[in-house]
Amino acid sequence: MNEIFGVPTQALFGQLLIGLINGSFYAVLSLGLAVIFGLLNIINFTHGAQYMMGAFVAYVLLERFGVGYWWALLVAPLVVGATGVLIERLMLSRLYKLDHLYGLLLTFGLALILQGLFRHEYGSAGLPYRIPDELLGARNLGFMFLPNYRAWVIVASLVVCLSTWFVIEKTRLGSTLRAATENPQLVQAFGINVPRMITLTYGFGVALAALAGVMAAPVYQVSPQMGADLIIVVFAVVVIGGMGSIMGSIVTGFGLGVIEGLTKVFYPEASNTVIFIIMAIVLMIKPAGLFGAQR
């Protein structure tokens, strides 16, 4: 069996793999957006820039300080998450009483600043980041070669997504968080420091973006624009899934990555636009999104 619907299986599985990789990033990024949106009611436009910052922190750690991938996986989210905490404390917290669209405009402005600064410093050309030695090479699955690093990205993203889901849906901390999403005043009345919770939630969402950035660094090249186009696709993913459920964002993220990969095999002309077309169809049939509740 070397062909399916006239397409060589090698190409089919290759694109499926790329789709799963892209899907991993869609899932982690839309998860972060959904967590932030749940509590802050803003869409974090800076998310793409923070993903890019994560990749750059990993790059600088390796090139300037000789610190490798595994430490970067820990350090980059902490550093970028800390800048997120600053942004929330100094700027976003002043906007909660206003129309939520101002939050969108502010984070859009921040994204422009960050992108411009990184482009000034590092130029527009992509910078390579090498795969850590432990994950070099590939294994033969019989029907295709699976590069170890790519397998790691898919597994690691799944673990990150599922643990976030577990924390939010199944633990006490998560139940407080969900309660604060429903009714912040009431939760505050129970003696819980809601403003601090909001700050930490934003920091966590941003850290997730940075983590995705570190994982993406060896797959794509590290460049100032890497987040800008991706974030628009992630927005479409979020609209399709609806931001009501955490599991919803995970499933939609991976699912759309795979669909995009398959489109590359069967109708390459539409591979850039297929997610947007799906978004339009979903909006016509179920405006709240596949897993969302209209509110």
């Binding site: 700027m91 129309d99 101002y102 405009l105 628009i232 696709v233 909006l283």
Partner: protein, 323 residues
């Protein structure tokens, strides 16, 4: 505590005499009529095209409360269609501009039907995604010329009489289109339709319960805004004899938001002032490369944090009159 009007995006709905608005209008028209004697006319034509674009955008966000993050698709698509019509089909300029505007109107109707199904933040994300789709289409479609765009678009003769390759006649045409578009938009704002739009922005549920079919009003506002943005884009393509990917890119959608924000969201004259400021800024900072983006981002942040009324909004607040 901020006053209630500041909570919602857009301007307060205040009635009052419109005499000072007529004076402001006369000042604006006189400025653009006399300025070419002092300021480089091509720069002014660019300002007028973007001012019309920003006014059209403001109609939607300032009065309808719908923040679109994808308006570049109307500007860019109209530019491509009018450039293609003038260059390949040999249309005269008036028909080329009309064709571009019609294309934007159609695109507005299609994307509007999809986008108005959600509000607020979702509306912004949906319009952004739809515009990105138009961008990818423009990259791939054969007639747009990909990265090169459509270059050397002939300006032609208006109604077969006026030779637009003469700078003064081109300026006159852009001036007429800008003033005509501006008057149409202020007419829409002050019409009963505009009032209903403002009511929807303030409280959609209540407008609905009063018997207004809010979706139809929002869709019509969206289409009008798209059509007028298209008019600006089609004109711009003839002025610069170029239609390129820059005009469909999401950065352009962000720039028009910035123009309205700087000038004053939901003010009649704000977008014109904002367009002037942003176009001038882009011109003077052009040699600084990546810093233009940084400065634009910084202006966004400063405006949102401390200057939400914008230049004209602050002026109106200070004089206690809406402009």
């Amino acid at each position: 505590m901020a006053d209630a009007q500041e909570l919602a995006i857009g301007a307060p709905a205040r009635a009052g005499s419109l005499r000072h608005q007529r004076i402001a209008l006369a000042v604006m028209i006189a400025f653009f009529a006399l300025a070419p004697a002092l300021i480089y006319p091509v720069f002014l034509m660019k300002v007028m095209c973007f001012a019309l674009f920003a006014c059209a955008f403001n109609l939607l966000v300032g009065y309808g409360g719908l923040l679109s993050f994808g308006h570049a698709m109307f500007l860019g698509a109209a530019g491509y269609v009018s450039a293609h019509a003038a260059k390949v089909w040999g249309f005269p300029p008036e028909l080329a501009i009309l064709a571009g505007t019609a294309a934007a109107t159609l695109l507005g109707a299609l994307s509007g039907l999809i986008a108005i199904r959600r509000q607020g933040i979702y509306f912004a994300m949906i319009t952004l995604a739809l515009a990105q789709m138009v961008f990818f289409f423009s990259v791939q479609a054969p007639f747009t010329g990909g990265e090169d765009g459509i270059q050397a678009v002939p300006r032609g003769r208006l109604f077969g009489l006026l030779d637009l390759s003469r700078p003064s006649s081109m300026y006159a045409l852009v001036f007429a289109i800008f003033v005509g578009g501006f008057l149409l938009i202020s007419r829409i704002i002050h019409s009963p339709f505009g009032q209903v739009l403002k009511a929807i922005r303030e409280n959609e549920q209540r407008a609905l319960s009063l018997g207004y079919d809010t979706d139809r009003y929002k869709l019509l506002a969206f289409i009008l805004s798209a059509a007028l943005s298209g008019l600006a884009g089609a004109t711009k393509a003839l002025v610069f004899q170029l239609a390129s990917l820059t005009d469909v890119h999401w950065t352009m959608s962000g720039e028009v938001v910035l123009m309205c924000l700087v000038g004053g969201l939901g003010t009649v004259f704000g977008p014109v002032v904002g367009a002037f400021v942003i176009v001038a800024m882009a011109n003077y900072l052009a040699q600084l490369g990546a810093w233009v983006t940084v400065v634009q981002g910084a202006v966004f942040v400063v405006c949102v944090l401390t200057f939400r009324r914008g230049v004209i909004g602050e002026l109106g607040h200070w004089l206690k009159k809406p402009f």
